[in-house]
């Protein structure tokens, strides 16, 4: 397979279709906001969205009606409070009902790892005595260790149709380098059928240390060069997390009209991520 270098618009149009299971990963760091916004512009519907921490990007996609299902482990605005659009969808089915498949962080990590390893399920010591084990019986099962008889918890593998990541760099051959906090990005990338990556920059050659997190080009279906593509999350070495924006989001997303007006003005009315960054005052 040869990696395709595409515009973000073409990358999303080619690889993400209505009804797919899609994981936009990145734990606080390197969250692919530009890709999520492009899916909102292209009005994707019926997606099963997978992320450990839905964060603002899924708050936006859920509020704009892209999703009918969510697989996750912590759905808040970190250090700020609620994700109001996620809450509105679960509490009031607005703009549509969504089903949830809820886990702990350790559980999501195990599910991605199983998917990345070609296993049908993964195991951990966890979920004991929790409501998650009671309410999510379809996806949480206690089984005995075949060797010792000890009880462990089994969770089904996660294998997204598409995983989307944001990374610092790709080289011209399509190899991708991630640095800093990677969360479960490696596992989410290798669990997926297709992998699409947005990057800060494309360089001739990656100056990657020997043990660096490099995804080989033959695992990467498409790359789009999108500077600032993780904003308002961050890309270590390029720009910081806009904590002030995360705090401001609490008011923007609190009511439906204010949320819709913001999305209309900054996402639907902009044609690409550069315009989005200018529109929210995040570009120099």
């Amino acid at each position: 397979m040869t990696t395709a270098f595409l515009s973000l618009r073409d990358a999303m149009a080619t690889h993400v279709h209505d009804g797919m299971t899609v994981a936009l990963e990145g734990f606080t760091h390197l969250i692919p906001f530009a890709a999520g916004h492009e899916l909102i512009r292209q009005q994707r519907r019926g997606l099963t969205l997978v992320r450990m921490t839905p964060d603002l990007i899924y708050d936006q996609m859920i509020g704009m009606g892209c999703a009918t299902s969510l697989v996750f482990s912590w759905g808040g605005n970190p250090g700020v409070g609620s994700l109001h659009r996620l809450r509105d969808a679960i509490e009031n089915q607005w703009p549509n009902a969504i089903t949830i498949d809820e886990h702990s962080h350790a559980g999501m990590a195990v599910r991605y790892s199983a998917g990345a390893s070609g296993l049908p399920f993964g195991i951990l010591k966890g979920y004991t005595g929790t409501g998650l084990a009671v309410e999510n019986r379809a996806h949480v099962m206690t089984i005995p260790c075949p060797f010792t008889g000890e009880d462990v918890t089994a969770l089904p593998a996660l294998t997204p149709d598409v995983t989307i990541l944001h990374a610092q760099q790709a080289d011209v051959a399509g190899n991708v380098l991630l640095r800093g906090i990677v969360g479960a990005s490696r596992e989410a990338a290798m669990a997926a059928t297709r992998l699409v990556v947005t990057v800060e920059e494309v360089v001739e050659e990656l100056a990657a240390p020997m043990n660096a997190f490099v995804i080989p080009s033959w695992q990467v279906h498409a790359i789009a060069e999108v500077p600032g593509g993780a904003y308002p999350s961050y890309a270590l070495g390029f720009y910081s997390r806009d904590n002030a924006f995360y705090q401001a989001w609490d008011d923007i997303a609190r009511t439906r009209p204010e949320f819709q007006a913001w999305m209309e003005r900054h996402v639907l009315s902009t044609t690409d991520h550069t315009e989005f960054l200018r529109s929210v005052g995040a570009a120099e």
Partner: protein
């Protein structure tokens, strides 16, 4: 320096920080736990090892992170590892001494709810959910819980059990609860200065037992309060800065 003007939140943070011994490996949640751990690290426990679930091991932040994965944590950490390894190699394998948690509801044994208010299938309030908490509580050698106290959040019956926890201490903005030896039920063992046992009982939704010998927690020292306030001031300034990206094209 006078220390009489401290707030209940500051007292809670200081009381929590004092329980962290130097050299312990601590799995840190965001918010109050993070403030308490960093206060301890800057004061009496310089070798406290802070692990944040994002994958940062041995973080030494100069400002408090807003999220669990701020760049500040990565840049000051001894190492940054994949998140699955944090939960398997470090936590599940038994390499964490202290887990530090908060929640929306707590019961008399220290079990925690951070998932829903109301029924799970049709909640009146959908809360963020479990995150790392269930396995932190299951695998850390010791669990501490910090929570502001109210009869609404200290409940007879949790709406949902997110985390089966048996904390060694529950630190509130009024005092400190610890489990009784035989029943494991939390009872009030210490109050903050100027707080009566009756006030703590009134802000608790279950019939709270009070230890025979009720201690009073010493108020924050000038040093503790000064360092905590500096930390919060630096953090506020840092978080207020908007980010501007220089676009290459």
């Amino acid at each position: 320096m006078t220390t009489s003007a401290h707030t209940p939140d500051e007292m809670m943070t200081v009381a929590a920080a004092r329980r962290l011994r130097n050299g312990a490996v601590c799995f840190v949640g965001i918010g109050l736990p993070s403030a308490a751990c960093n206060l301890a690290r800057i004061t009496h426990a310089p070798d406290l090892v802070l692990i944040y679930e994002s994958g940062t091991v041995g973080a030494r932040p100069t400002v408090l992170p807003l999220s669990i994965g701020d760049g500040e944590l990565a840049e000051t950490a001894r190492s940054v590892i994949p998140l699955p390894e944090i939960f398997t190699h470090y936590l599940q394998r038994g390499r964490v001494d202290i887990g530090f948690l908060g929640a929306a509801q707590v019961d008399r044994f220290g079990n925690l709810n951070s998932t829903v208010i109301g029924p799970y299938s049709q909640p009146t309030v959908r809360l963020p959910g479990a995150g790392g908490a269930p396995e932190i509580a299951a695998h850390a050698r010791e669990v501490l819980v910090v929570m502001k106290q109210s009869a609404r959040s200290f409940v007879e019956q949790l709406d949902f059990c997110t985390t089966q926890a048996r904390p060694s201490a529950l630190i509130t903005d009024l005092g400190v609860f610890e489990p009784e030896a035989t029943t494991r039920e939390l009872s009030l063992v210490a109050v903050f200065e100027g707080v009566t046992a009756d006030a703590v009982i009134a802000a608790c939704g279950w019939p709270l037992r009070v230890a025979d010998r009720l201690a009073t927690v010493a108020p924050p020292t000038g040093e503790e309060l000064g360092i905590l306030r500096d930390l919060h001031a630096r953090t506020r300034d840092a978080h207020a800065e908007r980010v501007r990206i220089r676009l290459p094209f």
